[in-house]
Symmetry: C2
Subunit: 370 residues, 2 copies
């Protein structure tokens, strides 16, 4: 069975991402190799994930890790949850040598990374992502954090794990909608910088969506490889790393407008990528053929769930994007498949156009069943 | 008038600490030189400090900074306060280019540094410390954070400021007890690694305690220089930096036992240094003469306030120290003035001895009026 190791090398960290089916059963052994001193381990997880796969994970540990549970859901991705976990670590006697294991999806991984970043001013952690979104995208690159009332991911830290262990076999137990939504981030990776990955996603959608282990391993590995390259060049998102936010400016606005309840993150990003591609087409930045192919492949990994939002509100919400600096609004547009760029001159008129077009598309019955 | 600039150069940061009387009035100009793009500035401060010195500080800014207020006191050094400030930054439209100015004492500086470390995963900040403790010690070295219910400074980050501007003239407006407590950290710096500074503190206590600007500038500058050297060698406290915790293991235990209400931090550290010196004397690690001189100088910067605590409880509380790794207890002991070491073998029996001796000393009337 295929196993791929992708090195991540940044200014501040150096670690490997291992992607292999049935990897879960060997994580204890792998950790013992990485950390021969056998420090105390704490698994941060959700009851659902732990119920499904906890035994497979912990079976490989000689000393049983302590389990800290977090209820699933974006609404728990808050400083109050992190504070509760910090107190629990202290009560359990975690020290600077202890290691955290983030065992769950993107929300859990972001929060556990931030927990590791802040407990005693930083302890080690590994990511064991269990959703397509987390394996393809969010467990890589060291972005950790929580939401504020004022906006998503506004509190956090750049803090890299010691390793990432992604087991694609775990994805077979997830709801199909989560798999599809997560794969939108692989499409994003393809559009940004990897035309071959995009082609693969286009050609092999049936096998990928059927959770064929070889195909999933390939898609995850190539998505991670693209992201690792970008993060290596620009760890702190001063330039190139902004490209990874393709689809995210409007995606975040959609999530905020729908109070994070109607769409999965990957679905919101998919809508955001459609909107960015539409702006690029209208500008003549991308050919009509490439635009249409992007749209077709995104919808092939649908159906994209409908949502309700006011186009004007979506435009207003983009003004809060973290990429904005000193008032200038940044936006990522595709020039072609495998070639995205950061632009600073997207106008309110263009945003209004694309938001209205998007909401019209949302309203079309056939999109929801593409 | 004397002005001293001490460079801090670590693996992750490079910045200057400027110490000069009446520096406050030029900070806006200095910031404009450091950041010619004129980003939005936010002053985080306490009402008291801002009332005393806010006008002097803001007068030097062309564009008036936004003021965020935090009530003074260790009890506000919590994640809930940081969360409130994060929300306020977002509501005021702070972006990744914005800069925070920590204008206050040690608690305020620790919290503002953590606020800067976590807002949008890290924005820039400067330290403008206004207490002796903060100018001599806590504003230097990038340790930021807040307290948990489980212990002091258990949540935080290593995150350096862009610059530190310390104005010793500000110290004349502070209560004398705060000045004296803060100067204990200068004594600490002398004991750890700078015999000349210790000698200066011994010889010039009258001028220093009278807030003579030249003397204070010298003491602050030499304390900062010592700390900068240690932090340059060991930013993340894997070894040498632990030395800076001389007096802090028992000091933190005293603070915890007295619920942070009876002593100032520097006073607790002073008691902790006396206790560490007593262990060193009992071991024969330090000569009796050096031990007695340390005790005399610490008490010369007293009076050390009394407090109530059970020796056994103090010993128990030292087990929670952040320096402890994988169960091993670390302790800092002086081998002589200007020469401290990290030891791992301090026993519960030694801790009990020194805690009991300390509490007997506390009970002696003359100590409180030394």
């Amino acid at each position: 069975m295929s196993s791929t190791t992708i090195p991540v090398r940044t200014a501040s960290a150096s670690y490997d991402v291992v992607i292999a089916p049935n990897l879960l059963a060997s994580i204890g052994d792998r950790l013992a190799t990485l950390l021969p001193t056998n420090p105390r381990a704490f698994i941060v997880t959700s009851p659902e994930i732990y119920g499904l796969h906890g035994h497979t994970l912990t079976h490989s540990f000689v000393t049983q890790p302590t389990i800290l549970e977090v209820p699933p859901g974006e609404e728990h991705k808050r400083l109050s949850t992190v504070e509760r976990l910090l107190e629990e670590l202290a009560q359990h006697g975690a020290d600077r040598d202890s290691i955290l294991i983030a065992f769950g999806g993107g929300v859990l991984g972001d929060m556990t990374g931030f927990l590791a970043a802040t407990y005693m001013r930083g302890i080690r952690y590994i990511q064991v992502p269990t959703t397509a979104l987390a394996q393809i995208d969010s467990s890589i690159g060291g972005k950790t954090g929580v939401n504020l009332a004022a906006g998503k991911n506004l509190a956090g830290a750049f803090y890299h794990p010691l390793a990432v262990f992604a087991d694609p076999a775990v994805l077979t137990t997830l709801p199909a909608t989560e798999l599809r939504a997560g794969l939108q981030e692989a499409i994003k990776a393809g559009i940004i910088r990897d035309r071959a990955l995009f082609d693969y996603l286009d050609t092999n959608s049936a096998a990928i969506l059927a959770c064929d282990p070889e195909s999933l391993t390939h898609v995850i590995a190539e998505s991670v490889r693209m992201k690792a390259t970008v993060v290596a060049n620009d760890e702190r998102e001063h330039g190139e790393r902004m490209l990874l936010n393709l689809g995210h400016t409007l995606g975040h606005a959609i999530e905020a407008a729908t109070h994070y309840t109607q769409l999965l993150h990957g679905e919101a990003v998919a809508w955001g990528m459609l909107a960015a591609s539409a702006i690029a087409k209208r500008r003549g930045l991308i050919t009509i053929a490439e635009h249409d192919r992007i749209e077709r492949v995104i919808l092939a990994y649908g159906p994209l769930k409908r949502f309700q939002a006011d186009p004007a509100q979506l435009v207003t919400l983009t003004a809060k994007d973290k990429k904005n600096r000193s008032g200038a609004r940044s936006f990522i547009l595709p020039r072609g498949i495998g070639d995205a760029v950061v632009v600073k001159d997207v106008t309110v008129e263009e945003l209004t156009f694309t938001a209205e077009r998007m909401m019209a598309m949302v309203a079309r019955q056939d999109v929801a069943h593409a």
